[in-house]
């Protein structure tokens, strides 16, 4: 625990200023967990972009007589190495193809709820009492509307397409960002530097975006990366209830739910897509941990001077 007492690390001498990209990459390389996470996430993004183009046909080709083929049968085509599903389709190919919808739904829902929720939260925390009240009542309503129920009702009225799912899930996640942003804003706006900026005549917009947002943002990002998992699982729960994405569209959540009846007989049906969800979340979070450290001047030394790290 030596480094706790090592309060302000002295800036290491910079022999010749390295270019920032190389610097970032080196810091990434120094945190092996973050590095592996990045590689994995790049792979997921690659699958999401090119997966359907490459494997769409193979992933939908049924073979009823070869259903629930067990994994690790290396004599088969490599796409069958993770086994086959209940209709004899290769699981690996399906996971790759499903990455597109999954990431689209998760990223879309998280992005929209983050942007909308944070904006409203900053507004509620910093502006007039009346606006704040309206926003908070709105948050109350959404928060007390059970998210699955809201999703069920909306998806009964609209078609359960990927796009509609993004909207529904985004709405249900707004309050968490809104309330967090507001709570932090309430605290930050009382801090010395904000008060000072205000006295010096900074505009409201400037105070919010230049002074408050940077302080609030790390917590929001932590929630957002965790919400990635939440959204993927919420989507899976909807499939569990029989609503949500409908075949022949696929997502990891739907695959997990479709494999559920076979949990005791053919575990691989829901295990692999479940693992994909877990690994993606894990990677996102490890990367976000790294980012927090890398972006925080007081913490950054941990990544730059690996040799000294004795934790």
């Amino acid at each position: 625990m030596a480094h706790i007492d090592q309060v302000s690390p002295t800036q290491p001498e910079l022999p010749d200023a390295p270019n920032p990209i190389a610097q970032t990459l080196r810091m990434l390389w120094n945190d092996k967990f973050a590095f592996v996470s990045t590689v994995f996430l790049l792979l997921v993004v690659f699958c999401a972009v090119f997966g359907p183009l490459l494997f769409e046909d193979i992933a939908t080709k049924q073979n009823l007589r070869g259903r629930n083929a067990p994994p690790f049968d290396f004599e088969k085509h490599w796409l069958f190495w993770l086994g086959g599903d209940a209709l004899g389709r290769p699981l690996l190919a399906r996971i790759i193809v499903a990455a597109q919808n999954t990431i689209f739904v998760a990223a879309g829902a998280v992005f929209f709820s983050l942007v909308i929720g944070t904006s409203l939260g900053l507004l509620a925390g910093y502006t007039t009492h009346n606006i704040s009240q309206v926003i908070m009542r709105l948050a109350d309503i959404i928060m007390s509307f059970p998210s699955l129920l809201l999703a069920v009702i909306v998806l009964f009225m609209l078609e359960s397409s990927v796009f509609n799912l993004v909207i529904v899930l985004a709405i249900t996640r707004i309050p968490i960002y809104l309330r967090t942003a507001r709570a932090e804003t309430l605290e930050v706006r009382e801090r010395m530097f904000v008060q000072a900026a205000r006295v010096m005549g900074a505009s409201t917009r400037r105070i919010i975006f230049r002074h408050i947002l940077p302080v609030v943002f790390p917590t929001l990002i932590t929630i957002a990366t965790l919400d990635f998992a939440f959204v993927m699982l919420a989507e899976s729960s909807l499939s569990f209830l029989g609503i949500g994405i409908q075949p022949p569209e696929i997502t990891w959540g739907l695959m997990v739910s479709q494999g559920r009846p076979y949990l005791t007989t053919a575990w691989w049906l829901s295990f692999w897509p479940g693992l994909a969800i877990i690994l993606t979340t894990l990677s996102l979070n490890l990367l976000s941990h790294w980012m927090r450290t890398a972006l925080d001047p007081a913490q950054r030394w941990r990544l730059e001077n690996v040799g000294k790290k004795n934790g």
Partner: protein
């Protein structure tokens, strides 16, 4: 929380004892897939209600036995007295569990009640829809029942009629059913359990099982686990993939038939060649032993093969994708818009593996060149499309449905699914209407022959729909019980038939 601590500790102690000991040797626990919303005897033909009430609490006038045919129950005998009237002699010395004696007046009241518009009983609508029923009490234990139009199978219809006391209200469902059966309804703790116990004043033999508890678990794997862990004795309905233990798991034909109803009013489904292609494109054999259980039968008619008049000479359409493509090409050449998008509609949770089944069918249809979209809908939406009045501008639709008929006669199935006035019929074929009318009025051999003719006509000439499978159900039974499920287990579970080993 602190004040609760002694309470928690106490119940912890008490429950240690409770959880260790299994239920007493002469009681059984049954785990059902869904909770009962109502416990109303006049809707006891609904399978979830029937498994608890039918012949356990509420008995019927006659009884349909899958092996021996129609048997006496509350009626000892019956005879046709002409003009659509049947005379039933009721058993004497039968009392309801509230102590009152059962007589002709109770039967008459039950017949009125099941047709009461204020409560819409399942039995009245399902088995007596379009039939006017009147009764005349001859003496305390003799009753004449008249059906208009005349029903040659009226005694069989009476096997669905549950008898409740004449004091039962006509305008609302009961929440504590009273019947003449071998068990009494003791307790319904909503969300948790239903308890029955043996009726000491039962007119027949005292059953071996003295009490029963029903619990509800939506997940098939959990139901199977409960029997395996000894927490339950019977899980009447588990999924194929959970039925893996030959010592505990029984399969039985469950009287359900799965089929696709075709929308004849819209092109291209109004073309017979297209409908034939839809039949030829399905590799039915491939489902059996894979997505569906071994023992699943390929269907040629809408009722189980044990139904009278089922035409056993009909052959299921063989898998012939080339011929299907040729038929489509032929139809296209004649100007039939075969490229129109067809909606294939499945019902969520209709039976185990319904999603896989629908996905597989969808892929098979796409393979022969149909332009088809799969849509899985929940029950409310499904009903809107399945039953009349059909939605306007619905376009060409194919609707998956599962039909249950364990009564041995196809009359209701045929009327509701194929008659031009049937609630779920998309057909308007005068010949079908005529055949249904003739068969309904006929008896014995002639009746069977008429039904056979109709089965053949629908399957071969009209090609009304895509018949798929006669289904198989699975039950898991604890090996301390001597009980084997039958075709009736889908809709009833007579506790008095259960013995211990």
């Amino acid at each position: 929380m602190n004040r609760k601590t002694p309470l928690v500790a106490m119940s912890l102690l008490a429950s240690t004892l409770a959880f260790g000991a299994h239920a007493q040797s002469n009681s059984v626990t049954v785990v059902l897939s869904e909770e009962l919303e109502i416990v109303e005897p006049c809707s006891a033909t609904k399978s979830n209600v029937g498994r608890v009430l039918f012949q356990n609490i509420s008995e019927t006038v006659t009884e349909m036995d899958p092996t021996t045919g129609l048997q006496p129950r509350l009626a000892e005998s019956w005879e046709d007295v002409g003009n659509g009237t049947w005379r039933f002699k009721l058993r004497e010395g039968v009392t309801f569990s509230d102590g009152s004696a059962m007589d002709a007046e109770d039967v008459a009241h039950s017949l009125v009640r099941m047709k009461s518009e204020a409560i819409a009983c399942e039995i009245g609508a399902k088995f007596f829809g379009g039939i006017e029923i009147t009764s005349n009490i001859v003496d305390a234990h003799t009753i004449d029942v008249t059906a208009n139009p005349a029903q040659p199978i009226l005694p069989m219809l009476m096997s669905t009629v549950t008898v409740t006391p004449s004091t039962t209200p006509l305008d609302k469902f009961v929440d504590h059913p009273i019947g003449t059966g071998p068990y009494t309804f003791d307790e319904y703790a909503r969300g948790q359990h239903i308890k029955l116990s043996a009726n000491p004043s039962y007119w027949g033999d005292q059953p071996t099982v003295q009490s029963a508890t029903y619990v509800f678990r939506a997940d098939s794997a959990v139901r199977a686990a409960m029997v395996a862990a000894g927490e339950a004795d019977i899980a009447p309905n588990i999924a194929l993939q959970d039925a893996r233990d030959p010592a505990m798991d029984f399969s039985y034909p469950n009287s359900e038939t799965v089929f696709l109803r075709l929308e004849h009013a819209y092109a291209p489904l109004d073309d017979r060649r297209v409908r034939e292609a839809l039949n030829l494109a399905v590799d039915r054999e491939a489902f059996v032993g894979t997505i569906l259980a071994n023992g699943t039968l390929l269907a040629t008619g809408i009722t189980p093969p044990s139904t009278i008049g089922y035409d056993h000479d009909l052959k299921p359409y063989a898998y012939d994708p080339e011929r299907a493509k040729a038929l489509l090409a032929e139809a296209k050449a004649d100007g039939v818009p075969v490229d129109t998008e067809i909606t294939l509609i499945g019902r969520i949770n209709n039976f185990a593996n319904v999603l896989e089944t629908m996905e597989a069918l969808h892929a098979m249809y796409q393979d022969v060149g149909f332009n088809m979209k799969l849509e899985m809908v929940e029950v409310a939406e499904w009903l809107e499309r399945y039953a009349k009045p059909f939605p306007a501008d619905r376009g060409p639709e194919i609707i998956e449905a599962q039909h249950d008929n364990a009564n041995g006669d196809p009359v209701f199935s045929m009327y509701f699914k194929y008659h031009s006035e049937g609630q779920q019929s998309g057909l308007t074929d005068p010949k079908v209407d005529a055949l249904i009318a003739e068969a309904t009025a006929a008896t014995g051999e002639a009746r069977a022959a008429k039904w056979s003719e109709l089965f053949g006509y629908i399957h071969e000439e009209v090609i009304a729909d895509v018949m798929l499978f006669h289904m198989v159900g699975f039950s898991r039974v604890n090996d301390r019980l001597d009980f084997a499920p039958t075709i009736r287990t889908n809709s009833e579970l007579q506790l008095s038939q259960i013995e211990f080993k």
